[in-house]
Amino acid sequence: MIGVIGYGAYVPKNRIRTSEIARVWGKDPRNAEKGLGVSEKSVPSIDEDTITIATAAAKCALKRAGIDPKEMGAIYIGSESHPYVVKPSGTVVAAAIGCEGELRCADYEFACKAGTAAIQNVMGLIEGGYIKYGLAIGADTSQGAPGDALEYATSAGGAAFILSKKNKDSIATIEETLSYTTDTPDFWRREHEYYPQHGGRFTGEPAYFKHVGTATKMMIEKMSLKPEDVDYVVFHMPNAKFPVNMAKKLGFSKEQVTQSLVVTEMGNAYSGSSVLGLTAVLDVAKPGDKILMTSYGSGAGSDSFYITVNDAIENKRDMCPKTWDMIHNKRYIDYATYTKYRRKILMR
Amino acid sequence: MKKVAVIGVGMTRFGELWNSSLRSLTIEAGIKALSDAGVPGERVDALYTGCMSGDMFVKQGHIASLIADYGGLLPVPSTRVESACASGGLALRQGLMAIASGFANIVVVGGVEKMTDALGSQTTGYLASAADQEWESFNGATFPSLYALMARRHMYEYGTTEEQLSLIAVKNHHNGSLNPNAHFQFEVSLERVMNSTLVADPLRLFHCSPVSDGAACVVLASEEKAKEISDDPIWIIGSGQASGAIGIYDRDDICTIDATVNAGKSAYKMAGVTPKDIDFAEVHDCFTIAEIIDIEDLGFFKKGEGGKAVEEGITSLDGELPINSSGGLKAKGHPVGATGVAQVVEVVTQLRGKAGKRQIKDAEIGLTQNIGGSGGTAVVHIFSR
């Protein structure tokens, strides 16, 4: 059985209100606020990127884990905004936290579920006896085309998890994980393109709901779960409506989703989305609590996890900033500053 | 050691000299100095030139050869000297040592910088090479920011005010308005200085010396040759040089430039004088705070009291201890490699009584102080009639 011995979250400090974005494009601000349920989103500072975000989250995870970084056997970072197309983010983060050397590493991509795919991979390496500790990170500085609907919610953030065989230091145990994958072209980005394309309403039923729904149902069946068995539900959050609707469809209540619903005040951090929902839950969950998490990556697929919280969470939780505290630690910027930070201005 | 005198001086105007090149500037200053000395080119035993970076500004290295060649002085032994903004002062010291040691009798010492051929945005980067490239410039520090950090701390520890910093600029512009070779020959009001654009808080545009082109040159001679050739030799009675930490983060006290303190002590000892004996000085005011720190480090005022000194007019042209009668780097201009030599031109001109409207009365002993970077190098010379 695999346990999580450390977790860390990072959310950049800058926020732009969705109403400010709507103002610039001459759109009704209620589209985003009420329609998407997102009031503001996080924006990386001009000196931040997926690597710096991943490093910040990893350092917190390391602090909570309390292990010597040299014992790390693997680092896998999932993102759709790796700073380099060729040269892994993982090696830079490894150097930043001091675990270069005997180390397995590669970068992952599967739209918004690259981080959870990284978790599954690290689990396999531990279970197979290949490594003692492994670091899995989901982080992104996602972009939406100016004026596109995606621009309201695409944001930045990341979470890191250090895994090992379950032991007394585990803050949580991953009881089970499974995935559901099909070829579904709902959202994509070609090489050399700066912004992604999407299929509009096609991203709903045949994409998000089909995969999150199927994977979660498979988990419910496998673990013989009833909705009331689960204390917290975490779904990938492209907006605030989809995860709440998904929960309802599956028989869960809105209350079970609320703690993880970070999207309302920070937007959709893509590979950082569901994993930040998970860290938000770990920040408050009690030993014995059950967490059901299903991520979603366009293209498409979902990874589902069933997690039990362990005693060690009580000692480790307070060692680093909490997810919602970071979301509330903010400074507002206007659209012009946002375009400068996100390099949307043609400089030459 | 032989005694050494300055027997000729010359300089170009300092400014944005679009029609002049690195070569033409050097030649112009050289011709003026040799004519002033009355020395024909064949009698020059050695040539020393201070130049911070022809390499970066005009992509020209090997300045030593270029100047000897274009100056028509081949095959004279020629050496280029570099230590950022102290290149000129250091060149003087090398020339001095060549004669004092008996290696040469008549030496030409020049300093030149051609800065305006580079774009302003490039110049900021080139000047930052005087700082610690890896650990200051790489992290986003600019050259003004290093002095700004010193200014902020000086204000914190000693209560130095922005007004005192600004008065340095006012004083030096006044002096510069009386100097036909100065880059800026206009007065500025205190209001104008204090309202100018911020460059690196608390330093504003008018607290910073400009980017200038220019060259300066002096002719040095041994005692024997000086007495033979010149009827007005000015003696170099003291010389001191010292190194300091290249990065300001490595200093124990960022309000003091140790290199100046040490170079000053050596120069005073060699000359057999104390700070009280100095009648006037040309000091390195690359930024207004630098002048305040310089006059403290040279022992003219207690640490922390440099600001008060300018406020009380002690360092004005008509004060007890005129500082930077030429206009200083602020108004005279700062073609980096030329500055150290231009300071000598001013001191010698004053001691000869030839400074016209900015003449200091009863000038007997003058001092020059030239700094490299934020204090990595300092060179001090003392002159007397």
């Binding site: 500072s45 | 490039q122 914190y156 690196a200 300001i248």
Partner: protein
């Protein structure tokens, strides 16, 4: 900056590894080949410096070289590290009027510069105000 030149400095820039002289008990950053006080009689080893400190002096840069121009105005500070030396660094994620001598700061890992759009990204230490 060339690729190998930056790569050599990674441990210092990423993890704040400095030098410690066992003879005179001083720490230095950036690292030194030889102790400036003890010279050859010293004994220099690597040491991980603390990531917290206090602002010793600061300035706000308004005119910057091309690679930093888009960030102006930004703060540069001399920071006295806890149990360590002075270090020069950019401050980030702060309003410029929040910066003052004596304020507590802590290290973060950020992008320092890039060798153009196609070149290597240079990462390293910056500091933020510690709440």
């Amino acid at each position: 900056m060339g690729v190998p030149r930056f790569w050599r400095e990674i441990p210092y820039r990423y993890r704040l590894i400095g030098s410690y002289c066992e003879k005179c008990n001083e720490t230095f950053f950036p690292p030194r080949e030889i102790c400036p006080r003890c010279r050859r009689s010293g004994n220099i080893t690597d040491v991980k410096l603390e990531e917290e400190g206090e602002i010793f002096s600061y300035t706000i840069i308004r005119t910057a070289p091309p690679e930093f121009d888009v960030q102006t105005p930004y703060a540069i500070a001399l920071i006295k590290l806890k149990n360590g030396p002075l270090i020069m660094s950019q401050l980030t994620d702060c309003e410029i009027d929040e910066v003052d001598i004596g304020k507590k700061v802590r290290m973060v890992f950020r992008k320092i510069s890039e060798d153009g759009d196609a070149g290597i990204i240079n990462y390293g230490y910056k500091f933020i105000l510690a709440e």
